[in-house]
Amino acid sequence: MANTPLHQQLSIMKQSFFDEGLLDHEQVSYLETLENEDDPDFIENLFTMFLRDSSRYIDSIEKALEATPVDYSVMERMLYQLKGSSASIGASKINGETNTLRKVFHDGDIESAKASLQKLKEEHANFKEKLVIYVGMLKEAKPSEY
């Protein structure tokens, strides 16, 4: 891999994701092994897909929680969906907050679940803001490699 200032910035940014617990080092390293010359945009596309889909899941969770009565089946499905996809891309904090929300929801405490959802939304917004920049830099770095 080239060692341009952009690549150095990418390295630093990636490390900060790991240091802040936003991304799991092991899982991201594993995903990087799946990327190859036939599909050099795999990681960027995966992250972009996750950001889009996770936003949708969180919106559905919010609507289900605000509904009267609470839509339990949508909550269940969306929570497991978000748990699975966040674990699969190594989005540790989002995965953690999803598990917390799931536990509180299963305990039947709807008000605490709503508070937990707000935390999840904050975490997601923070992650999205940083990951969008990272994906943009990844795209910028690509032409010089290939």
Binding site: L34, F42, L46, E76, R77, Y80, Q81, G84, A87, S88
Partner: protein, 132 residues
């Protein structure tokens, strides 16, 4: 439950990934591809059943539990009732013993918690003698 002579389409192992999450499908297809496994995707249990009704066969099916229209438990039961003998591995984020057992009882050969990794898939394939 798998046939001992391996792939349904010559020497290449075939797999069906059944999941309604695009991120999971992208990762699982990529890891199967890297292992030299030809893969297809169904985004819910009904699509998986319909594929089999149309005559498609797969050596390995990776079945998610929670999906719209037809979930993994219903789809697995349906496939077994149709006489499908593929290896069906449940892949889910559920970790409660009862929930896993309920999924296993529908006709799974194995259960793996997400995220799947190449080593998990290789261990499944070794169990059914598809790899050394």
């Amino acid at each position: 439950m798998a046939t001992s002579n391996g792939s349904s389409t010559g020497t290449k192992i075939t797999a069906l990934v059944v999941d309604d999450d695009r991120v999971i499908n992208a990762i699982h297809c990529k890891l199967l591809n890297k292992l030299g496994i030809e893969n297809h995707v169904a985004t819910n249990g009904k699509e998986a059943v319909d594929l089999h009704c149309s005559g498609k066969k797969f050596d390995l099916i990776l079945m998610d539990r929670d999906m719209p229209i037809m979930n993994g438990i219903e789809a697995t039961r349906e496939l077994r009732a149709m006489g499908v003998r593929s290896i069906i591995v449940g892949v889910s984020t559920r970790s409660i013993k009862q929930e896993i057992q309920e999924f296993m009882d529908s006709g799974l050969d194995d259960y793996q918690e997400k995220p799947l990794t190449s080593s998990k898939v290789i261990s499944i394939l070794r169990k059914i003698d598809f790899v050394d």
